[in-house]
Symmetry: C2
Subunit: 429 residues, 2 copies
């Protein structure tokens, strides 16, 4: 190789950090050929030096102070893998960019919150801020949006982008067990983040969909405008009912662009069992992108894990080694538009579940309120009694989400309503 090696400092030696070192070691020949030069580790850093790890790190240079690598003249790229939307991770990245170092990160929370500020900084310093690993593990969806579908007017990006939620929903169905039991199982297997709300509360998916929306629509990243609903209230009964109607329940990230503006949501949806989303099991992720010329495309792959995530990090590093320095969100950061975010426009059918007193006139009362909000009923079914109460299932015709929420609100306050009503959007894709 004629060119100097690209020297990288790795901060954070958890599963992904060790995966990157493993990848660089095992595939060194291929990486060097593809990158056109050697990619060499100039230093590594983590909280505890003496922690027992699966990989021998004794030949690598240990740096105790994470900020020191960002100042190191011998390092061209900082690979930030400690996570967290603020604190050390942010300081490291800021300092690295200010010192004209490229940054590669898997930190979706940080990009979702500070992506625009950091992109402006990277642009000013003419360095790369890359985060292929932040969304959908091994699926190269960041680059696909930033470079491959880049000329399209994208109208929709939908994704199952949290493997933990998809695992829980799949297992509830497979084992016919309720949420709490499978959640515990997933926790025992180490699939759930320390703060479970990141996964099951939909926040992780929200971080990711806000990143995808920015890349797809050329808009300034706006995490605060993602409407978020998690999977904590999905019961086995809902899954069974969905199945009986030919649907499955999936936690979707949904980003839409219309003339009215941009919408971003994370919410559990009923999707047709025979659709690609309906077929997606376990930890696998999928992203669907629809553009005005490319039409509909789907991308499927492992959403997490050391190997797939490292694969995305290595691709960012090879790009930098090749000298392919992209804009952070696919166009000049200073030209990203502040988009109008819409929430009033959502229209879809809904699956509703109520637990109602089994007395004459109950259904009439329910139907009356739905009618008042101009919500028309497609199907209605009353299930077997539970004591004096009976579950009632309704599928509505397409309606405005705001109207539906008002109706639900009013119904939940009725005497006849014996538990919090459940509503799940039907996404026919």
């Amino acid at each position: 190789m004629e060119k100097d090696p690209l020297k990288i400092g790795i901060i954070g030696l958890g599963t992904v950090g060790l995966g990157v070192i493993d990848f660089l070691t095992k595939n060194i020949e291929t990486i060097t050929l593809r990158a056109g030069r050697e990619i060499r580790i100039s230093g590594i850093c983590a909280k505890r030096k003496n922690k027992k790890r699966k990989i021998d790190l004794s030949k690598l240079k240990w740096i105790s102070d994470p900020l020191a690598l960002s100042n190191d003249d011998e390092t061209d790229v900082i690979v930030e893998l400690i996570g967290g939307e603020d604190g050390t991770a942010k300081s490291i990245i800021e300092k690295a960019l200010l010192n004209n170092k490229h940054v590669v990160t898997a930190n979706k929370a940080l990009i979702a919150h500070h992506g625009h500020y950091l992109a402006l900084l990277a642009e000013e310093q003419q360095v790369s801020l890359s985060f292929e690993a932040a969304v959908a593990g091994g699926i190269p969806i960041v680059k696909i949006l930033r470079e491959s579908l880049s000329g399209n007017e994208v109208s929709r990006v939908y994704g199952v982008i949290n493997g933990t939620c998809n695992y829980i929903l799949t297992q509830m169905e497979n084992d016919q067990q309720d949420y709490s039991k499978i959640f515990k199982q997933a926790q025992d297997l180490g699939f759930v983040e320390k703060d479970p709300s990141l996964d099951v509360g939909g926040i992780d998916s929200a971080h990711k969909i806000s990143i995808l929306a920015s890349l797809a629509f050329g808009s300034r990243i706006n995490f605060d405008n993602v409407l978020i609903k998690g999977i904590e209230n999905i019961s086995l009964l809902d899954i069974k009912n969905a199945n009986a109607m030919g649907y499955r329940i999936k936690l979707l990230g949904l980003a839409n662009k219309s003339k009215a503006g941009i919408s971003q949501e994370v919410e559990p949806c009923l999707v047709p069992r025979e659709s690609l989303f309906g077929k997606l099991d376990g930890g696998t992720n999928m992203v669907m992108v629809e553009g005005n010329f490319v039409e509909q495309t789907h991308y499927i792959g492992p959403g997490a894990g050391a190997g797939p995530t490292a694969s995305s990090i290595i691709s960012d590093l090879i790009d930098i080694a090749r000298g392919n320095i992209s804009t952070t969100f696919g166009q000049k950061a200073s030209q990203l538009k502040i988009s109008h975010h819409v929430t009033e426009e959502f229209i879809s059918s809904f699956y509703l579940r109520f637990l109602l007193t089994d007395k004459p006139g109950t259904l009439a009362q329910l139907a009356g309120i739905l009618g008042k909000y101009t919500i028309s009923i497609n199907r209605m079914r009353q299930l077997h009694h539970q004591d004096e109460n009976a579950p009632v299932l309704i599928v509505t015709h397409p309606t405005k989400k705001t109207l539906l929420k008002s109706a639900i609100d009013e119904i939940s306050k009725l005497e006849i309503c014996k538990s919090e009503p459940v509503y799940i959007k039907i996404e026919d894709l």
Copy 2:
């Protein structure tokens, strides 16, 4: 925009050429933002100037001589869309590269045959030779292999990469009609190339799989070593039998890399109905890539059409406008390895169909020959008589393809064998 426009000359104004002009017109704002500069058409050229076309070309500069654009000082990029593995297309591209112009092409035949030579030329001239549109229409699989999965040791690339064949096989099943009728229908709809063997003979898929193999394995492109079998001999009976066993028949491009070497095949296969390949209908394409770190990933999208193909061409143009000039096959052309190609190693189960005289001892004779070649039988079934003959179906246990072909050869010469035996590989994926 501060930068000069990128000036492109378009040669060939068929569906795709007009699609590119339409795309550049309709999405001009997005393209300019993404590219960081204007992409402007400096000249257009096709066989007949006065042909009636769907798009108004009167404001564009018409050039009569296709080679003139390759010499034009006012043109930075030549977009070659006339097709054909030799002749004018090759001359245009050679001249453009020699004149230090970038080349964007959708010409899979030309890349399959002359890709290595042209890549060396592009490398020498330090310009880009890009062909995202040559494989799988709107699916950005070329860039995915070249840049996103670039550090992986890829072991398999499998694809349904000819929409016409997939359309025919899907329609045979939907309409329960035999090959010849549906083939005629596809021809009437304009889905089949002038030379049908390109589609149904598997040659188009072979062009594409040879391109994907080179990108995936870092090997010098080698079209001559693709083993090709088309779909012309697939009968409705085979499709019905496959369905009854839980399979569907798909024409697959298959590229494998093992320690023994590289194999490239195009052939109809039985794939599990419940697999992603088994679910693929009509003109949709899909490519599966398996790498040692990224694991298994799938990419699905429209395999042809003006919009999707133009989308791929525009992404190549935006890359060039941004100054992201990649190596043609993902690494220096001069370092692409000449790979050892293996054909002896193929092992799989097979579906076999024979038409045999319905007499005592017939099956024994058949089984005897299979046994002689150490081919063991998993399932065997004799169907209803056709006159004095009866179709016999066999599913083998995994066996070497070479042994199977020898056995089939010997069986076909027997007195009891009343038509050419059919064998189809079972690909459990």
